[in-house]
């Protein structure tokens, strides 16, 4: 039983990191209806800045710099690339972000080289013991950060005109412009915010229990895809729930690997995708996503 609790708790803590990444997807999707495949490289950028600066200026300033840096990269991507696209097809734009991701990741991995960069975070490898269960401080921090940020975004989307402007711009740029929405600013803002979020996610992705930032860190963003999708790509709550669900699924699939050998070992990566497909079969727009409308 206590193992189950430990695995579950561990899944929740892992899931909150995924939730943070998924939140980044959600922000951009809401503002532009684009699935942002470049999120992984924003993550790497934020982590890189934090990791290279913390020795000189201390952890917290470095984290802020990382957030600002990744926000800047995000904004630059929007300004230099996304804004220039003149078509209307969102899947084409999604593919553009693949191109952007390749560019950024190549540059960053080239800089990172073969190093493992540490974040210099204050939590270290401290753990909290709850009976026989141990939980890393970093993960508690991640959970708190995810919960706070997601609540903040939930409120912002619901109660500020920023959220309305975002959705209007995403749905029909022309009509939104007629409403006085500053299209450029909205999507620039979304990309910058997504960048900042990516930097926060990068922090928690690379601190204990993982050794640090290195070239393959960005691959972790792949795991946030099912999280974002099964929650619903345009839902902040969905990002949280999706993230947790993926974390727990992965954790259970790994923890009970020995009991699941008939499915082949190493299910940890696959399981979230299976759960996602199952959920999509029942709810084609995810748990909290906006359903596609059908009326003529």
């Amino acid at each position: 039983m206590s193992t189950f609790a430990e695995i579950l708790l561990n899944g929740v803590s892992l899931g909150s990191v995924y939730a943070l990444i998924a939140l980044g997807f959600v922000v951009i999707f809401r503002a532009t209806e684009v699935v942002n495949f470049a999120h992984a490289s924003l993550l790497l950028a934020g982590g890189y800045v934090t990791a290279t600066l913390h020795d000189d200026i201390g952890f917290w300033p470095a984290l802020l710099a990382g957030i600002a840096g990744a926000a800047l990269v995000g904004a630059a991507v929007e300004f230099l690339v996304m804004r220039r696209y003149r078509g209307a097809d969102h899947s084409v734009l999604a593919i553009v972000t693949i191109g952007v991701d390749i560019l950024l990741t190549t540059e960053l991995t080239r800089r990172i080289g073969t190093d493992v960069l540490v974040m210099g975070d204050p939590w270290g490898d401290a753990v909290l013991k709850l009976g026989s269960i141990s939980l890393a401080h970093t993960r508690i921090a991640a959970f708190v950060a995810a919960a706070l940020l997601i609540t903040a975004f939930l409120l912002a989307f619901r109660y500020t005109s920023w959220g309305v402007a975002m959705r209007a711009a995403a749905e029909s740029p022309e009509t939104a412009a007629l409403m006085g929405v500053r299209l450029g600013r909205v999507s620039l803002g979304a990309w910058a915010v997504a960048g900042g979020l990516a930097a926060v996610a990068a922090l928690f992705l690379t601190v204990f229990p993982t050794p640090g930032l290195e070239r393959a860190t960005s691959l972790a963003a792949l795991k946030a895809f099912p999280a974002a999708i099964l929650g619903g790509l345009d839902s902040t709550t969905g990002a949280l729930v999706g993230g947790l669900l993926v974390g727990i699924t992965e954790s259970l699939a790994t923890g009970y690997q020995s009991d699941l050998t008939f499915l082949g070992r190493g299910l940890g990566d696959l399981a979230p995708y299976l759960v996602m497909v199952a959920i999509l079969l029942i709810r084609p727009a995810g748990l909290f996503g906006t359903k596609e409308l059908a009326r003529v």
């Binding site: 309305v164 029909s172 009509t175 412009a177 007629l178 409403m179 006085g180 409308l293």
Partner: protein, 266 residues
């Protein structure tokens, strides 16, 4: 220059090689209701797009001429700046944000305006179109066609603009509702908003407007006080064509030359 109100001068617009407007000039004096009549493809929507600066979304561009509002040039601004300058548009074909709720659509409409008047604007809109209050939680895309049209008009009213551009506001509205829109136009005009009205229901438009322009294939062919135009033969025949003997004879005539379609025997 510097005339008050909205002044369009020598405006030409092209969609790539397609010339949609040729040296169109028109004026919407402050506090006036001006209507533009014209058959399909005359360029009425293009004119409104040019004023609101949304041509680029359709692959079009202004090739010459200028648009001024109270002496300030609007051409060259971004669409949102035009809204900020006080020009709102109800685009053709409803264009509500289908996935957003009715309430959020109205909030979106208020984005460009100033914050203070928002609740009064909302109250007024709900009073005009009670169905929107009832349905405020429904997705706009699920509304009926006419309800969407009401929402589109209501949304533009949320911004409390100085100039309101209406592109076929009565499209798909029941006669009763079309009358209510007409009343609304009158009312907001009375409150000081100038209106540029594009409308296929010419009778209604001419009744509302003080001045009218007729646009044919991208050019202004007639203009003058609305009442005068309403009396002209040309306008009566082409745009007002009520059911009278004339029209009946017309119908006969077209019937004679009409091609017929036979059943398909495939």
């Amino acid at each position: 220059m510097g005339g008050s109100g909205l002044v369009v001068q020598d405006l030409s617009v092209g969609y790539g090689p397609v010339r949609a407007l040729r040296r169109v000039s028109l004026e919407v004096p402050e506090g006036a209701v001006v209507t533009v009549l014209g058959s399909n493809g005359a360029g009425k929507s293009t004119l409104l797009r040019a004023i609101s600066r949304t041509l680029s979304f359709h692959g079009g561009a202004v090739t010459e001429g200028s648009v001024n509002l109270n002496g300030r040039r609007l051409d060259g601004l971004a669409p949102d700046r035009v809204v900020a300058a006080g020009v709102s548009q109800v685009p053709e074909g409803r264009r509500v944000f289908a996935r957003m709720t009715v309430a959020d659509n109205l909030r979106a409409g208020a984005l460009g305006g100033d914050r203070s008047g928002r609740t009064t604007a909302l109250d007024r809109v709900h009073e005009l179109f009670p169905v929107l209050a009832e349905r405020s939680g429904q997705r706009a895309g699920l509304l009926s066609g006419g309800e969407q049209q009401m929402l589109a008009v209501a949304r533009a009213l949320m911004a409390t603009p100085r100039v309101l551009l209406l592109d076929e506001p009565s499209l798909g509205l029941a006669p009763l509702m079309a009358e209510r829109i007409a009343d609304t136009v009158r009312e907001i005009n009375a409150q000081g908003t100038s209106v540029l009205l594009v409308e296929q229901n010419a009778a209604l438009a001419l009744r509302l407007a003080t001045r009218a322009y007729v646009l044919e294939v991208g050019e202004v062919t007639l203009s003058g006080p609305a009442a005068e135009l309403a009396a002209s033969d040309e306008v009566r025949r082409r745009y007002l064509g009520v059911v009278d003997e004339d029209a009946a004879a017309d119908a006969e005539q077209t019937g004679a030359t009409r091609r017929t379609l036979t059943r398909w025997k495939g």
